[in-house]
């Protein structure tokens, strides 16, 4: 049975890892999308560690921009384990989702781990990458489909 399940997951995996960037557009306004995003992150057992207000820094420096934030999030146990096993990957964490207004709508994006996978082809990290990518997809989709 395990063999069949593994085969099934292997067959489905191109669907799950084919994209380099995960991007969604939501018809929610920026403040609404921000609220739903932070809730969705919590729903997946992650904690928001910080929200970087990119637009504030830009406008204070005299550059025009619509609202633009970067939301950092993670799981403390996962990060501690990661920094013990793969300390060189610490700069990529906590994970982040960029969120910016485009007119009345909002765009959110996050990166996959496609750029890191080739460097860890034989390690147990691949399944961890799968898990994180799947979580990110679901978080983004929760925002995309929210009313």
């Amino acid at each position: 049975m395990k063999k069949y399940l593994f085969l099934l997951l292997l067959l489905c995996s191109p669907l799950l890892v084919a994209q380099d960037l995960f991007m969604v557009r939501t018809q929610l306004s920026f403040p609404e999308a921000m609220t739903v995003l932070q809730e969705a992150i919590g729903n997946h057992a992650y904690k928001v560690s910080r929200v970087q207000r990119v637009d504030i820094g830009l406008t204070e420096s005299g550059y025009a921009t619509d609202r633009y934030r970067v939301v950092f999030f993670g799981d403390i146990d996962e990060l501690n384990l990661l920094s013990e096993q793969y300390p060189e990957l610490v700069p990529y964490f906590p994970m982040k989702i960029a969120i910016f207004a485009e007119g009345d709508e909002t765009i959110l994006l996050a990166s996959s781990f496609a750029h890191l996978r080739p460097n860890y082809a034989s390690g147990s990290l691949q399944s961890r990458f799968d898990k994180w990518e799947n979580d990110i997809r679901q978080i983004l989709d929760e925002v995309r489909t929210a009313d």
Partner: protein, 349 residues
Amino acid sequence: MFMQCLKLLIPGVILASGGFALAAPASDGDTLYQQNCAVCHGAHGDGGVGVPLNLPDFLAVASDDYLRKTLHEGRPGRVMPAFPALDEQAVDAIIGHIRSWSEKPAPVYSDQALQGNAEHGSTLFATHCAACHGVHGQGGAGTGVTFSRPRESPVMAPALNNPGFQHSVSDAMLKATLLAGREGTPMPAVGSLGLNDQDANDLVAWIRELKVEDERPARGALDPIIQFESSYSLEETLENLKQAVVGRNFRIIRVQYFQEGLTSEGEEDPARVMLYFCNFSFLDEALAIDPRVGLFLPCRITLVDTGHGVQVMTINPKNLSRLFNNAELDKACQEMHDIYAEIMEDATL
């Protein structure tokens, strides 16, 4: 038993894909468009990170074959990705949805090459086209149109030398575009410039001469991080970094523990620290190149005291940039890579 498990698992896996490629029935062009295209091109094709698709002049001259090849091959180095996971049925459904924005039927063109004088076309191109499309046909800067920040042009001029474009467009479609122009963009009909039918053929002949090579490195060929080892203590290294950062016209945003915000205050590991900094002029330029650069923000260097020394690390922007399919961004990330390396080297020597 196995089939029962399949029935239970398959919907879950599709759901887990989060509504991305192939999650909808191929017959539902609208849904497939919303899942795969709308994030960049807008829900109604008005554009965004991607160029607008619902322009009447574009739909009047774009053949189904052009749209099909564009979906298959994308535009290497110009943001638009290829969609290899979409099968023919899904591609046709998306094209059908895009066609629903126009009452005109899809044009069909001959594959035959047009006969033109490329040398004369080169002169015409330099005079009438290069200002928007670039001297080498490399296209305008930035991405599509955008509604998130001020832009110099209402729409990015396409890269005519892009291999994805060159392979997707027929000579006849190129000529039809030149003759019709594109209302709603700066692209005029060549007739309004005093050019005739043969001039259009000559321009097509020259555009076919425009070529670019994809020089991006293969996946896995780049280091994921930039790393230096410091011979100073963590505190000394941090101060050195701050001086090096400020010395390169960056502003320090904050210093925080790696675990800050994820664990209770006071329980963070003081041996892992992050320095955040930014140069807003550089950031503004980067956002003009690609509004998705938030995934690089803010500039950050992480310091880890291992007990045997201090490791100074940051992401390799060149490695992350490859996810964006944007050759312009690759160049900016090369610059950022070099700045990171200089700062870290200064701080650790």
